[in-house]
């Protein structure tokens, strides 16, 4: 496959590109779903193809094909250059690339149990068992499923990169829905998106779906008669680590994507409230807030050996002691921003998508408090967990998030269960109110397998190490 990528790169250069790279990707995806004790679907998808980028002037041209002959690879390279050439009719400043050490390497993430080798019957029994238990304990609709991705990619660049990687990912999810007179309530486990990582089937076994099925079904039913989360303009809010993963993803991760900051995503995903002139000065949150983007974290969903430009994975500080200090970047965006090197955050979703800046593992560094301590320290507040809805403006500033479940916290103790908890805020004001941060014992590497970005649309797999946190003076209970 290196030969095909090489042929594409050489053809792109011959057709006028000053830089080119090509990826051949072979991806397998298996998913199975169960509903109410019955298997509903098993899908096994395979795709293999080549995608080549060519840089001419101020724009990238990209062409992808599933035809894996050398002749087709050469044609793809030429096409990519022709497309880049057409871009020159609406030009900007020439795009430069930050330097990156050229290497030839192989990388793959370790797995204990190859997920594709686990018998289908065993996987099916797991899902059937979990959904049956949920139904037995009150769920009207009980869903469970898993996904496995096994991706091998070969990268060649005109600078001499020759890197192949095999990345195996898997995870699972389940949820129980209870139908009331005029509403539905749902409880998910381990979270709304499940839990995913760059690990083998051992991750799914550790989730113990069956062992948590009864609890979430009972909670879904209990939520139907739980009191509504009250509305407060300002209250103490304790957020569980799964919801914190979403908070980080939406209000930090996307805000620090350099292509957004530069305006390259303005028409669709949006821009960012962050201004590069304020990096190293702007206060993003309280002193407790430390965020890194780290693609080297073992087993986290956003981990890899090299990004799709051949930049080796490495940790990048994003927020340090509450001050914004870093961005997620690629070679072209880093160059335009005057950064010395790429942040190694460029990936494409499949061979037929242009690689672009995506989150890696963007997460909080743990603090020193436990969830118990947060509750004990709260006189009047609310604890919420498990994301249910999420909405944020196009600058990643004004957000409103809803959770599946909440509890009153009164005088240091957990009280009544609450339904439909929502909270809203403005990013830096919200993060500035962070006053208690969970410790390492509660640090979870949450995986988000469905981050959407780009035109045409791409799905990114991102990781978010997070812990429970407490925030002060938050508006909760926003209703329609």
């Amino acid at each position: 496959m290196f030969d095909h990528a090489q042929a594409a790169v050489e053809a792109a250069l011959a057709a006028g590109a000053r830089y080119a790279d090509a990826r051949v990707m072979d991806r397998r995806h298996e998913s199975m779903n169960a509903r109410n004790g019955e298997i509903e679907g098993l899908t096994q998808e395979g795709s293999v193809g080549l995608g080549v980028r060519a840089l001419i002037g101020s724009g990238w041209g990209f062409f992808s094909t599933s035809d894996l002959t050398l002749q087709a690879a050469q044609a793809a390279g030429a096409q990519a250059s022709a497309i880049a050439g057409a871009s020159a009719s609406v030009p900007g400043r020439d795009l430069e690339l930050t330097p990156v050490e050229v290497c030839q390497d192989h990388w793959e993430n370790p797995v204990t149990e190859d997920p594709l080798s686990v018998p289908l019957s065993e996987k099916g029994d797991m899902l059937v068992g979990a959904t049956r238990t949920m139904v037995d304990h009150g769920a009207d609709v009980a869903l469970a499923g898993y996904d496995i991705w096994d991706t091998t990619k070969w990268l060649v660049s005109s600078e001499g990169h020759r890197i192949d990687q095999r990345i195996r990912e898997c995870g699972a999810r389940m949820d129980a829905t209870a139908n009331g007179e005029s509403e539905t309530q749902r409880r998910s486990y381990p979270g709304i998106r499940g839990q995913y990582g760059t690990r083998g089937w051992e991750l799914v076994r550790e989730l113990e779906l069956e062992g948590n099925a009864a609890r979430i079904a009972e909670e879904a039913r209990e939520l139907l008669t739980a009191p509504e989360c009250p509305s407060h303009d300002a209250t103490d809010l304790i957020i569980g680590s799964e919801q914190m993963a979403l908070q980080i993803h939406e209000s930090v991760g996307h805000a620090v994507e350099l292509d957004r900051i530069l305006g390259w995503e303005a028409a669709f995903a949006g821009t960012s409230w962050l201004d590069l002139s304020q990096i190293d000065e702007l206060r993003f949150g309280s002193d407790l807030m430390n965020v890194t983007a780290d693609a080297t974290l073992p087993g986290a969903l956003g981990s890899f050996g090299y990004d799709d430009e051949g930049t080796p994975a490495h940790p990048v500080d994003i927020v340090k002691d509450g001050i914004w200090v870093g961005v997620l970047s690629g070679r072209d965006s880093a160059a335009l921003a005057g950064l010395p090197r790429s942040g190694g955050a460029v990936r494409g979703d499949g061979y037929n998508r242009l690689p672009m800046v995506r989150m890696t593992n963007v997460g909080l560094t743990p603090g020193t408090s436990s969830l118990e301590e947060m509750i004990a320290a709260t006189d009047d507040g609310i604890l919420v967990d498990t994301n249910r809805s999420w909405s944020i403006d196009d600058k990643r500033l004004n957000f409103q998030f809803g959770c599946e479940i909440g509890w009153e916290v009164k005088n240091g103790r957990l009280g009544r269960m609450l339904k439909n908890p929502t909270y809203t805020g403005i990013g830096p004001r919200f993060w500035g109110s962070l006053d208690m941060l969970g410790n390492a014992s509660e640090w979870t590497f949450w995986g988000t397998p469905n981050c959407g970005k780009g035109q045409p649309g791409q799905i990114g797999h991102t990781g978010h190490p997070s812990v429970p946190c407490r925030f002060r003076g938050v508006r909760v209970g926003v209703r329609g």
């Binding site: 509903r35 019955e38 298997i39 509903e40 679907g41 098993l42 899908t43 096994q44 998808e45 395979g46 795709s47 293999v48 101020s58 724009g59 990238w60 041209g61 990209f62 062409f63 992808s64 599933s66 035809d67 096409q79 880049a84 057409a86 871009s87 009719s89 609406v90 900007g92 795009l95 289908l120 009207d140 609709v141 829905t177 139908n179 509403e183 539905t184 530069l262 305006g263 995503e265 028409a267 669709f268 037929n352 998508r353 672009m356 909405s391 403006d393 500033l397 004004n398 409103q400 439909n420 929502t422 809203t424 805020g425 403005i426 035109q455 045409p456 649309g457 508006r475 926003v478 329609g480």
Partner: protein
């Protein structure tokens, strides 16, 4: 090409033989997109796409798989692995069987020139958009897609279809406001970059120097892209047969659940629609009425949900969307008489909204959705635009907003808007004037 694609389907069915029930879909074509930001083309892509999808059932044990190569070895492996996987599955009690042989109504949303459009043609339209902005910063894209699809199953159904879609969508930015312009058609020749760019520029300039407005309930005139957003949620979480089967839907057939001004159907044959005449299960699409003058009259079904509810498939199965259910991809909301300007003239005190952004559902039963406005919002008083306002957050039940006596006007501006149904369809809709919309916050919280 359709004969070639059908020939591949026949090869796959021949490999399956009499071992199982089987259905095969193969799609091939070119998807291209020219993207621009900060007023230059920064990403320009094209994909020669091909996909083969096989679903088999062995006495009700079901499995499906896909590949993107058509050589003998790949197809043999595809068939063998899919049948082997099905044999290991338990019987699926919901398996509805294959679609029977049935003719497809004539639907042809195809334009050869669009299917073979060159990058220079898209770049030309982008250039015209940028020029029309007269110095304002611009961003957006121009895309052309041409896809041919063939379907065959072991029940004798043989179908082929093809469709093209051209989109031009972008914003102009003043520094304090963005304004959007967009156009969609089956034919690239219909898209005029200077017209779309001028529309975006006018909106941006009219929205410049916006000021805040107090949250609260306001009348609203919602542009077509907002209406598409609303209908997408009603479709997925409401009219979807699966949502009804699971007790999560608001829809109750026979009840007056909407304003009398609402008549809604799924209709790929509408002259402004795009798409092909059959769904992912080989069921011919047809005109499916969902709401007539405010009364819910129908639901959308794939073969599974139809079996579960004792109905017939309405041809709304979407490839890969099985767990989601039946999703209408070609909704058409019947237009009214007043122009958008006349709708605005009928507002006492309310907001004119261009686009919605980041809408998410809080409860599928109540259809309460939260989201934000984008690309131009104006306060209207006594029928006149008073001033631009900053973006606002809303939390609103979409069903209630279109409920009885809640629709004060349905516009005449029937518009094709792409990217509907969370990206899988394109709807034809006008603007709406609604009696009440709940804005729960400003841009600053």
């Amino acid at each position: 090409m359709s004969d070639q694609l059908l020939a591949v389907c026949e090869r796959v069915l021949a490999l399956v033989g009499t071992d199982a029930e089987a259905e095969v879909t193969i799609s091939a074509g070119t998807e291209t997109l020219t993207r621009f930001a900060t007023s230059f083309i920064h990403q320009n892509v094209a994909d020669a796409a091909r996909r083969i999808h096989l679903r088999v059932a062995l006495d009700g044990r079901v499995s499906e798989a896909s590949a993107n190569q058509t050589d003998d070895e790949t197809l043999s492996r595809l068939v063998r692995s899919t049948i082997d996987a099905a044999a290991l599955q338990p019987v699926d009690p919901g398996w509805p069987g294959l679609a029977p042989k049935a003719p497809v109504p004539p639907v042809e949303h195809w334009d050869e020139a669009t299917a073979s459009a060159e990058p220079s043609e898209r770049a030309e339209r982008v250039g015209a958009f940028v020029a029309a902005a007269d110095g304002l910063e611009t961003a957006g894209f121009c895309s052309t897609d041409g896809s041919e699809v063939a379907f065959a199953n072991s029940a004798g159904q043989r179908l082929s279809g093809r469709s093209t879609t051209a989109l031009l969508d972008g914003i102009a930015r003043t520094g304090t406001a963005d304004g959007s312009g967009r156009a969609a058609s089956a034919e690239l020749v219909d898209l005029d970059g200077s017209v779309v760019g001028a529309e975006a520029t006018r909106r941006a300039c009219d929205a410049a120097d916006a000021t805040d407005l107090e949250p609260g309930r306001y009348e609203g005139v919602l542009g077509p892209s907002c209406v598409v957003n609303i209908l997408g949620f009603l479709a997925i979480y409401g009219f979807n047969g699966r949502a009804v089967d699971e007790g999560r839907s608001f829809a109750r057939v026979g009840e007056r659940q909407f304003d009398a001004g609402i008549t809604l159907a799924d209709d790929v044959a509408h002259p402004m629609s795009v798409g092909i005449g059959f769904d992912a299960e080989g069921t011919p699409k047809r005109h499916v009425e969902l709401v007539r003058e405010g009364v819910t009259t129908g639901l959308s079904h794939d073969r599974r949900t139809a079996k579960a509810l004792g109905a017939e498939s309405t041809g709304n199965a979407i490839a890969g969307a099985g767990p989601w259910g039946a999703l209408p991809a070609n909704l058409v909301l019947e237009a009214g008489s007043p122009s958008p300007d006349e709708l605005v003239a009928g507002v006492g005190r309310g907001l004119l909204v261009t686009d919605f952004w980041y809408t998410r559902i809080l409860d599928p039963r109540t259809q309460v959705v939260t989201g934000l406005t984008r690309n131009g919002v104006w306060l209207v008083e006594d029928g006149r635009i008073a001033r631009p306002v900053t973006n606002m957050r809303f939390t609103q039940s979409f069903v209630e907003a279109l409920g009885p006596d809640q629709v004060r006007g349905v516009g005449s501006d029937l518009t094709l808007v792409g990217g509907a149904t969370f990206g899988t369809g394109a709807y034809v809709v006008p603007s709406l004037h609604l009696a009440s919309w709940n804005f729960t916050g400003g841009a600053k919280g």
